[in-house]
Symmetry: C2
Subunit: 215 residues, 2 copies
């Protein structure tokens, strides 16, 4: 088996930390599930914290794929759709990623937030820049509040994934729930339609929705 123990530990630990959180997982839990001896963690990763850092770093590297877009070369609406598509793929490729993100959001004092914040900050800049340019180009409402809209878009795309465990449990009594791609494509189009510049011909008959909008 050579050093395939290291991979078994890292893979098992990544799943368990995502599922239960750092303090709710013991080294005995991990090594029992991975089928290796507990002293192998010290041997390969130094400590529990060292193991967690290795798992987190691997997760954060998955975020990079979201960032490698040339924002200035694309139509802002295309960039929004592309961001959503890449978020879907990132979550599909690694189902644990979002749990690490939300655990970092919930307990900001926890380990290794520096790397995490840098990645989040870059995504924020990317979307902020795209929406600002969309307003300047007359694609989006001139009174759009860009920081609010960036936040709305990020929440829109990611909330679905975080809510799946509970939704799956209450789904039995409800009608059938949408799958990931149905939801995200739907959500992005609602978002784009909601922020687009109103048709001039509608000027004399304002829509009910904008009656008390103040932005």
């Amino acid at each position: 088996m050579k050093q395939d123990s290291r991979d078994r530990i890292l893979q098992t630990a990544t799943a368990l930390f995502a599922e239960k959180g750092y303090d709710s997982v013991s080294l005995r839990d991990i090594t029992a599930a991975a089928g290796v001896n507990i002293s192998m963690i010290s041997y390969y990763f130094g400590s529990k914290k060292g193991l967690y850092d290795a798992a987190l770093a691997a997760q954060l590297s998955e975020l990079s794929s979201l960032l490698s877009m040339d924002a200035d070369a694309m139509d802002p609406r295309t960039l929004v759709r592309e961001y959503a598509e890449r978020a879907i793929r990132a979550h599909e490729k690694n189902p644990h990623l979002l749990k690490y993100i939300f655990r970092a959001l919930l307990s900001p004092s926890a380990a290794q937030t520096g790397l995490f914040e840098a990645a989040v900050s870059r995504i924020y800049d990317l979307l902020d820049h795209a929406l600002t340019r969309g307003v300047q180009e007359g694609l989006f409402r001139p009174d759009l509040d860009v920081p609010s809209a960036v936040l709305l878009l990020a929440g829109t795309v990611n909330f679905h994934y975080i809510s799946t465990p509970v939704r799956d449990r209450i789904a039995a009594e409800k009608r059938v729930l949408p799958d990931e791609r149905t939801y995200v494509s739907h959500a992005v189009e609602v978002f784009l339609r909601g922020i687009e510049k109103p048709n001039p011909r509608d000027a004399e008959t304002p829509s009910p929705a904008s009656a008390d909008a103040d932005f």
Copy 2:
């Protein structure tokens, strides 16, 4: 001080559990911060789990105010705005509520999810019913996917709060961020505008956003 110790314990524990999670808080942490003796937890709450259950139950009771709406008596758009307004008030009144909700979402195996799921389920029904009726009454797009839209609305309203800790930390380098009410009112109007029935006069000039929408 009589039994004011009980209140001090409960209040301190509620904040610490929200901030760090159940397993990351020790009874010694709580009693040290509350300034009471550790044996008082056993005396008043029986066990750590008993203390957590007491804190969680108090949080969940805050959710009830979200539910006491007569959905059938209101315009669906009004209900959506009212839901958002009540969510804001619930979060303002108790800044720990959403952390308990998201911790339950992240670790569904954790304690006391039955009560939690019942509350979530009722909110889902409320919104699902309102949006369905809005479609039937011709207010919203006839091809609206209601389950997706319910999820989108819930994510829209709540994501803002969960992201505040990280946003506050990276806000220094960015432009100023929107406050709660600015964001939520903005987000709800984008949502309503995004799902409303298109003006018939736009039929021959479809909006760019709906070009590849398939719902």
